[in-house]
Symmetry: C2
Subunit: 415 residues, 2 copies
């Protein structure tokens, strides 16, 4: 569909990142400037906001605040985890979406999220096409996990990686400060793909990294882990920093956190201990070595630390939002924006479009040949891949020494 | 003692901070420029480095790297937790210290640390004076806990407070992103004084703070906590962010972490659960409300996040080191450098000297009248007090998008 005037609808989905709102800023600003676009709507809490007609009129926002979205973490419109059924099984939601799209004359729809969101986006795109409703649908990728297929990297990954590497450098200096034994176990996000955990190796490249790095791509063995830690301690003045993915699994594919949780730890209500796998492993090496141990979970900070975001990531993510609108307006549909890295030594990317069904159903993990040292280290290739992505400091405005994040009016559209 | 030529010795002690090395930079740079000072030594791992003659010759360092110390977290020389016995009970260590001071003609001694370190510094100062060895001793304060007596605030506190407030703002945006119930319990350092936990209220002042803030100054009741959380959830769309000090205690003064730890949770080895009190409380409210909960421990990051340090803190801390040297060289001894805030609306401090015995034995907690809302909130007075301290961004140099921390040669002094 090309040349049709109509409204733009944008929604955010899945776990937030430091920069997901940069894409929102790109979509809104480009949309407000486009001649074909008659209105710019943001849906509250992803697909659910469309189903419930909880919509914001983005033209009512101050342009300064929309620009501040570039450096505001989390999802400004609210997010959701909502899985659409297949339309062939139950098309209730699809019918409702079509009704809402028609009511507001939405002809340009953008969904911002990770794997599951691209699946949702793909289903909506196909349904609308089949139903004969003229609409262009473009997926805007985001995920700190960096596991989307078909793109060199994912918006949001680099800022999380930069925070993780920076923080590990700082922890490295802190954890080694005493002249006594000290084991530090740092837990990083990433259920199935180890990209974020591998980011620890960027700190290693600066000489202030981790001694051991465990990705979910390689089966994890608790006994081997204890042995690895003891070995490092022996050669390293009884000090060891280990970084583990929250998603490490045993050889049967069961999460180590579940294996250890079932093995015993209960809280005072009799529930399985909820602490992360890092804390559990830390307890085990403490018992095994007698050294002081500390477990550090990078928790929500790694996905929302906008104060430490990568400028490269922020700018690319902003651009991805703008590109999505330009593509839709020029007639593209059923695609996801993706990044292609140009050949050559100088880092440069090109924005491309990938069919949504390809993006939706494939998970990209860390190449096994990049995992070295018997599953405890990351090769130079990863550093070469990731280092260009974390360059530059995000230009986060400060007010009273604290971040000045966007303050939206969020003017509701009358139903 | 005044006008005596001799060597300078500096050592760091206690838990590190983001800016403890800024004082080191101040001491070293001022010392290297002083005509009375014949050599500048840094001791490895505090007092233990002196006892063992593990000393570094700081004149062998590149001045650029010494300047980079200003923005390098943790203790560059290494730290220690070592409590000197009273000289009247056992003077072995003191005799050894005197021996080392004499051997290297140390006439200016500086100890950088918190309460315990000022106690050590005080004991050494008194012993050397009594033994007739001419030496000027000055304590350089540091502690993220902000609990030293006689100073408006402590070097290191503001940077930790800035990190905590910034991070809570970011977590606030992240934790409220879904349209479902969510309780987040954030644990902050501070065993007896709630200054750092109170820093959450700086985020509140920006509208992105915590709903509940619990300091160790007020006895903590788990049942009341659960009631408080439920109340917030009821009025707030089933969302609540609570910040607790690691040092919260029950009405008998027992740490809540111990109370709950003893009540049940054991790991797979039968050891009491080691997770922080925040994780325990998070588990309890999860069981009580059924909502999704998340516990976040700011752990080592709050004391080493130099990438988010306060410029005001860095500059004051650097200056405190310089002032210490100038004071000692001009004949002062047995004192600690402290900050006095000038009257008036504009924030300005004056550097003063306080007798070491006063600094050593008193702990400053948060004024009880600043704790409001039935022990769940912090008054405007705290914000007025703390906000000027977190102003400005530390000028941390970057290399490849990551911090460029100081790299010292650490040239050992021949024994």
């Amino acid at each position: 569909m090309k040349g049709l005037k109509g409204a733009l609808m944008f929604a955010q989905s899945g776990g937030p990142t430091s920069v997901i709102n940069a894409s929102a800023a790109g979509v809104f600003i480009e949309g407000l400037n486009s001649e074909l676009i008659t209105a710019v709507y943001g849906a509250a809490h992803g697909i659910r906001g469309i189903l419930n007609e909880d919509l914001y009129d983005m033209s009512k926002e101050d342009i300064k605040e929309l620009e501040r979205l570039k450096n505001t973490p989390s999802s400004a419109l609210g997010s959701v985890r909502y899985k659409l059924k297949d339309a062939s099984v139950d098309d209730t939601d699809y019918k409702r979406l079509l009704e809402v799209f028609k009511k507001y004359n939405v002809r340009y729809f953008f969904y911002n999220g990770g794997n599951d969101s691209m699946d949702t986006c793909n289903k909506i795109s196909k349904y609308m096409a089949n139903s004969g409703y003229e609409m262009n649908v473009i997926g805007v990728p985001k995920t700190i996990d960096n596991d989307l297929f078909g793109t060199d990297h994912c918006p949001g990954f680099a800022s999380a990686a930069k925070y993780i590497a920076t923080t590990i450098m700082e922890i490295n200096l802190d954890a080694k400060v005493y002249d006594t034994g000290m084991i530090c176990v740092i837990e990083v996000m990433g259920r199935n793909a180890g990209w974020l955990t591998a980011a620890a190796s960027l700190a290693n490249a600066k000489g202030l990294g981790a001694d051991l790095i465990y990705l979910p791509e390689i089966p994890f063995d608790v006994e081997k882990f204890v042995k690895d830690v003891k070995e490092v301690c022996k050669n390293n003045n009884n000090k060891c920093i280990a970084v583990v993915s929250e998603g490490i699994k045993d050889k049967n594919g069961v999460l180590i956190g579940e294996v250890l949780g079932q093995a015993g730890a209960r809280d005072s209500f009799g529930h399985a201990q909820l602490g992360g796998v890092g804390a559990m492993l830390s307890n085990i090496v403490k018992a095994e070595t007698g050294f002081k141990t500390r477990s550090v979970e990078l928790s929500l900070m790694q996905r929302c630390a906008a104060h430490c975001a990568s400028k490269t990531d922020v700018e690319e993510t902003f651009e991805a939002g703008k590109i999505a609108v330009r593509a839709a307006v020029s007639g593209e549909t059923d695609k996801m924006v993706c990044y292609e890295r140009k050949a050559g030594d100088k880092y440069e990317i090109e924005y491309k479009l990938l069919p949504l069904e390809l993006a939706a159903n494939t998970e990209k993990t860390v190449p096994l040949e990049w995992i070295i040292n018997n599953g405890t280290g990351i090769s130079e290739e990863f550093v070469k891949y990731a280092l260009p992505l974390i360059q530059g400091e995000a230009e986060l405005e400060k007010e009273d020494g604290l971040p000045r994040f966007a303050r939206l009016n969020k003017v509701k559209v009358e139903k």
